[in-house]
């Protein structure tokens, strides 16, 4: 087990190096002299030259990348061009909010998607199944920002049950989490339904039924566990994908997470912030995917 874990962790290293190199090179592709952007248009020549040395811009590109990487590992992501604040600290202030939002969304989608998928499979072909298929189809097709706006209109603006925007209370978390979770609800439902229906055809399920177990016990005790294995993978992957999609929920509900910070930074062409935010979200994504792989290995005896 430890070996599997270790090997998986080692495999993320080249990917992380690749991601950091890609982000680094992208930022260098942006037209304009970074030192001049930092210093501002009216800055005196000596200041620009000093910043160029400070940023290591006078060195060859490969050394620049190594410097960038070493500083990033030490937690130094440079300072924001717009505010002059250290990027790492700004990101860490917002990161918990994005993680909280993504976690709440995945909990919501599991809480709704699992029962819905089970009910659909058990009632195959009946109205409940057909309804769940329609819900899943709409959920997969509707983008987060559209779901968000419709929920905001109905539950916040019209009915006034929940706050419209902001992040000052737990109630503020509900709408962004639900709109972010709508897509995985659809995905989990579809997948669990399909995999349960497959498991229902297996011999051991027939045996369980033949020995007279009530249908509920057949599902809960025998069919659910093998059917959940692919679902766990999807849940994990969806959790990772939320780090990208949370940007849209954050935008609709003015949720002050990393995504909103990133979008604003792209607008202001605040490159150190773009660089740091993309790195942070991509790193989280890679770590989550590695964790999913390891969990999968523990759940599925064939992999273990």
């Amino acid at each position: 087990m430890v070996e599997v874990l270790l090997r998986r962790v080692l495999r993320t290293i080249p990917v992380l190096l690749g991601i950091s190199a890609l982000v680094f090179v992208s930022m260098r592709l942006i037209p304009g002299d970074p030192a001049l952007i930092y210093a501002g248009d009216q800055a005196p020549g000596e200041l620009v030259a000093k910043i160029r040395v400070d940023l290591g811009l006078d060195q060859p590109l490969v050394s620049q990348y190594v410097i960038f990487l070493r500083r990033a590992i030490e937690g130094d992501l440079g300072v924001s061009i717009r505010t002059g604040q250290p990027v790492a600290a700004e990101l860490m202030r917002r990161y918990p909010l994005t993680l909280l939002l993504a976690t709440a969304a995945i909990l919501f989608s599991v809480a709704v998607g699992l029962p819905l998928g089970i009910l659909a499979a058990v009632n195959r072909g009946r109205w409940l199944d057909k309804t769940s298929v329609v819900i899943a189809l709409v959920g997969v097709s509707a983008p987060t920002f559209l779901v968000g706006i419709v929920l905001q209109l109905a539950l916040a603006v019209k009915l006034g049950w929940l706050p419209v925007t902001g992040s000052t209370s737990w109630l503020h978390l509900v709408l962004p989490a639900v709109s972010l979770g709508a897509f995985p609800v659809a995905n989990i439902t579809r997948l669990l339904r399909t995999s349960l229906l497959e498991v229902f055809g297996e011999d051991f399920v027939r045996t369980a039924r033949a020995k007279g177990l009530p249908e509920t016990l057949v599902v809960v005790r025998h069919a659910l566990k093998p059917a959940l294995i692919p679902a766990v993978t999807i849940i994990g992957l969806q959790f990772g994908a939320m780090l990208g999609a949370s940007v849209f929920a954050e935008a609709v509900f003015a949720w002050p997470g990393v995504g909103r910070y990133l979008v604003a930074a792209i607008g202001y062409r605040d490159y150190p912030v773009v660089q740091g935010a993309v790195l942070l979200l991509a790193l989280t994504y890679v770590v989550i995917n590695a964790a999913v792989d390891v969990t999968y290995g523990r759940l599925d005896p064939r992999v273990r």
């Binding site: 942006i30 189809l137 920002f145 706006i149 994908a241 990208g244 849209f248 979008v263 607008g267």
Partner: protein
């Protein structure tokens, strides 16, 4: 003119036709196709027949609800929402197709060469694909926008680049399988050059999965483009684009919710019908595809 016009023999449907026969039996898919055709027709005809003044701001007619002179009402600047949403359909469909074309233009050749020739080029492509696919797609698009700057063309390019690795990997896999087919070996034995073998013999064998995944990705692509428009990355906010319209409509949810709901509804209808049709095409071309590999757009 002595040659008799012999009618071609009525043969059983050739293999290439069978998928179409199956597709026609898929009611959900055909409904999707019908709705999509209506949307496409509206997107083509609509902007031609719409008088120009419908797009102009008219401060005497702001926030009109649906019904009356303006079927879908007017927006905060008094522009006709029907005219704008139809123009938005054209923009969305064209942008979505253009972004797909970008992914194909980069992804298919890269995957073909990697899969057919193998070796070092294969390693390079696969490492690149692995790295690019370890990002959430949206983040990759953001990164591209940060480099290219905002604007609709750049949004299309960014979204297209973000899904390039999917097609590169797909085509590489097929090319590796097709490479081993006897007819390819025969072409090689006959002395065809590698580039000719790759383009004329291997590539056609790789196209069916590309079509399936391409149709399935179209919905995601449209949604992602609208999402970037929603975030204000599409440039000129006056242009009728669904994402930007939705974003402006959000400001007036209390006063005139239809400004957001009209483009939102159009977007949902389009993506739903594209996805229904895409599922049906996937089922017809490849019965082993059990469920849609849904990818998240916005």
């Amino acid at each position: 003119m002595a040659t008799a016009l012999v009618p071609p023999p009525q043969a059983a449907p050739e293999p290439g036709r069978r998928w179409w026969v199956q597709l026609r039996r898929d009611h959900a898919g055909m409904t999707g196709l019908a709705v999509l055709s209506l949307i496409v027709a509206a997107a083509i005809v609509g902007p031609i027949v719409t008088p120009d003044d419908q797009f102009q701001p008219n401060l005497q007619q702001t926030f009109l609800p649906p019904g009356g002179g303006h079927v879908l009402g007017t927006d905060q600047l008094g522009r006709d929402l029907l005219a704008r949403v139809v123009a938005g359909a054209r923009a969305s469909l064209l942008s979505g197709l253009a972004a797909l074309a970008v992914s194909l233009a980069f992804g298919v050749p890269a995957g073909l060469v990697a899969g057919y020739s193998g070796g070092r080029w294969d390693d390079v492509v696969m490492v690149a694909v692995e790295i690019l696919m370890s990002f959430p797609g949206v983040l990759l698009a953001f990164l591209a926008i940060a480099v290219l700057g905002p604007g609709q063309q750049n949004v299309v390019l960014a979204v297209g680049l973000a899904s390039t690795p999917i097609f590169a990997r797909l085509v590489r896999g097929s090319a590796r399988a097709v490479r081993e087919q006897e007819y390819v070996m025969a072409a090689v034995a006959l002395g065809a050059t590698p580039s000719r073998v790759a383009a004329r013999h291997v590539l056609p064998g790789c196209l069916a999965p590309v079509v399936v995944i391409g149709v399935l990705r179209l919905g995601t692509t449209i949604v992602t483009i609208a999402g970037l428009g929603f975030l204000g990355m599409g440039g000129d906010p006056a242009r009728p684009e669904w994402g930007a319209m939705l974003s402006q409509g959000q400001e007036f949810l209390r006063r005139a919710p239809h400004i957001a709901l009209v483009p939102g509804g159009a977007m949902l209808l389009t993506v739903l019908s594209v996805n229904l049709f895409g599922d049906a095409v996937a089922d017809a071309l490849n019965p082993r595809v059990l469920s849609r590999r849904a990818h998240r757009g916005g």
